[in-house]
Amino acid sequence: MIKHISSLLGAGALALGASLGSARAADTVKVGVLHSLSGTMAISETSLRDILLFTFDEINAKGGVLGKKIEPVVVDGASNWPLFAEKAKQLLEQDKVAVTFGCWTSVSRKSVLPVYEKNNGLLFYPVQYEGEEESQNVAYTAEAVNQQATPAVDYYLAEGKKKFYLLGSDYVYPQTTNLVLLEYLLSKGVKLENIGGGFRRDGAGKIISAGKYTPFGHTDYQQIVAEIKQFAASGDACVISTLNGDTNVPFFKEYAASGLTAETCPVVSFSISEDEFRGLPAKQLVGQLGCWTYFQSIDTPANKKFVADFQAWLKKTTVPGIVKEGRVTCSPMVLSYVGVYLWKAAVEKAGSFDVDKVRAAWKSGLSFNGPGGKVTTQPNMHLTKNVFIGETKADGQFKIVKTFNNVYGEPWLKGKFK
């Protein structure tokens, strides 16, 4: 791996970089990796860097893409959204990468989007997001709302749940997801008074926000849990949580202490995967639900091989800064992994690294059998994939209780359910 130092040097360095690039161009292809390796998001995003490096090694060992070895250019977005845009610019204009795999938060994606559109670059985005976006320069391997949130609601409805409490962290993904969920619940005949968390209305009385929101780092969930307890007193209630990061710890501790359990009032969390579990109190979460397009516990030979290969790679890798113990695989990691293979398939179908040709190949519908089952690319830049609902076990893994096969990724959901 070539270590890149972010450069603010000037035109001379730029020219040098370009000439170095062309010297290598014959046998390698440059691929950007744009994740936060420092700052608050580093805990989640470094796992994606690791899995990407693993995937590149795996592909290179089998001969690379179109006969060229992948040469990763890893840059650090440092959990700083404007910096993401700068780094993206550097990747596209200076390093001339053929494709970038990166971003976790929606705000980082929104920040780099104009850069990719201006330079006609291609970004693979692997983390569950709120939809309402369809850029020609982004391949969304991520879960769209209808590949995570609405299947979870379907599952709850099938379980006989009648009351839904919406709770989330205060930023764009939970806010948008809950608005879509509100429409979806109403379309399924759930009454407005049976949707908890409250509503915010504009001057005309139209609902512009649904659910209860807490800021990042919030620790006092007493009042909210007391409210949920009253909400659930009459039975058949459940919670849909888009709480992010470590606010889940005080929430679930309070939840368990108040006597609410997965049997009386289950919680489905869209932001807790196997990887997040490493810092959560497992005992308090047992029986609560998760919904993703991949779980490490999927019992297929393909997944077992993938998990074993990744662990073996972790043991022998020499890249500095990679944690080797207690590693797990989770949905954003697998979506990064299948993203690389889909890009490879698209490049090979197009016979070129040219972004326009690769995009056309993507839109023609490519399939790849990944660890989570078959995924297929769609004309709207999203992916068709399987959706799983799992119950949390004490060891931080999920027991799959329901599978939805081949769910078509649909980004535009607002106003769709009437």
């Binding site: 580093a42 009253q230 710890v249 005080p250 368990a256 202490a257 289950p266 810092g279 005992k283 209780v401």
Partner: protein, 600 residues
Amino acid sequence: MPPDPMMNFLARCLRPLACLAVIAGALAAPAEPARQILVRAALSDDAAQQRELITSLTGRADAALVALLEAWRTDALFRYAPAEGTALVVQLTGPKDDEGRQAAVRIDTGAALVDAAGQPLKLAAGDLKAVEHTTSLRRAMKAVADLADLADPDPARRFKAVQTIGQAQDAAKLAPLQARLEVETDAGVRRVLREAIALVQLKDPQDATRIAALGTLKELHTLASTDFIKRALKEAEEARNQPVLTAAREALRAVENHRSFVDFFGTLFRGVSLGSILLVAALGLAITFGLMRVINMAHGEMIAVGAYTTYLVQNVFGTGITLPFFGLSLGLPGLDLTGGAYQTYFLFALPCSFLAAALVGIGLERSVIRFLYRRPLESLLATWGVSLVLQQAFRLMFGANNVQVSSPVYLSGNWTVNDIIFGWNRVFVVGFAILIVFGMWLVLTKTPLGLLIRASMQNRTMASCMGVRTERVNMLTFGLGSGLAGLAGAFLSQIGNVGPSLGQGYIIDSFMVVVVGGVGSIGGTILSAFGIGGIDQVLQQYLPVVAPGLGWVPGIGGFLQNLAQDAAVFGKILVLAGIILFLQWRPAGLFVTRSRSLED
């Protein structure tokens, strides 16, 4: 399109047929023992069929079967595949032998499992796969068990069973409920039985029955009945049924009155509990900053030291832990305790947290702070630097991720008195806050050390002239303050995250509490902690009640109405704004300490 969706479709069409066949089979041969149905369900791979089979056990369950269902739900039923023949479901009983094997009982016959030669077969739980279960299956099992549980000797189980049956509003269950009420002696269960019967009767076609049921619900005014009364009210409204409507309105009013009572006292308790947390977190700072006037930005990290110490003690009581320690690997052996002995780890963690943080504090005082006593601004910068160093040290030793601190059993339940929830962890924090305040008062006013501390803090030079070794007193005082912060860390580990940046979340709150209370006044710190905690909770609770009525305010009415949604955030903003105004009015805080010292 690939062929698998087609297959899926076919399978989905056939599944109900298969279930029908199962049910028909069950009807045609009612003699099939309940245990065998259970075994068939356990061996089935089809979730829908499993559910049907379990539900078919309704009314046939005896105590033995309920115990089996319970065993299934707690992963104590195992699937055993003998070398030849079909798979069996077994339960392990009796003492374990040296290799961890136990005698096995076949569930279908209830007899001991034997091998081909007729000898009893012993199996180890680790070699077997527990029979799996999902939420919906557990619910089905629960429904079956609930009806059987009506006669359970444990009142808590009866209570839960009655509640679930009542909320299902199934008229067929009315008779067993009424039969149980005849013989029930436990007051709590009698109450919930009456509620359940009334809930089922709400579905009765007779007006008189429904009105009587609503009368019962009015008398009981339980929160659980709210939704059902509302539904009855709506139905009566649509049917223009005046007598039922009146009864429903009265019942609803009684429940709402009860709810405001619960909310009021619940808020009060939550305010006290939040106040206690603020107090526990700020008390150490009240000493290091309040009494010693060191602007101690590393206070938060002292809290984190306490929290990490709790984590270490927990691991030592468990399986041990290995930490990277500046290039070395530091292994702490585990005591491998389980059960009750393991649960006591928290009691040992308390003194350890105090000592660890006190030692770090004394080290900090000796190495940095003692040179800066008369230079508050430099002490601010120096302690801030120390806080960054400590945070990085946590990251190096424990990793950037949060670590798991599990709550001991005696801190993870709750008492529910009249629908008001008292979480044990919260009650413990309140009790503990009272204890350490009392302890501190004793130390400061009744011991020679306290006398020396007060003397040195009031007038360092004079105390020194009188022969007090102020250097040593300073060191001990700083150690005491840091130790209290460590204790706070042990508690906060039961409520929130334990991570390298744990302290950052509490440092602002701590300074706020001490400044509002009046720097140097312990009493002021106590009052301001409870004041801030209480106001915060009251705003969180009652903003959503008040805000919707503020639409009339010109210009910002809409904005105010929507505040209800942000109660958690806006409550905090209002508290901060209130504090700013308060400090404009009383810059020295609630209690001003006057000193004759020439230093001030």
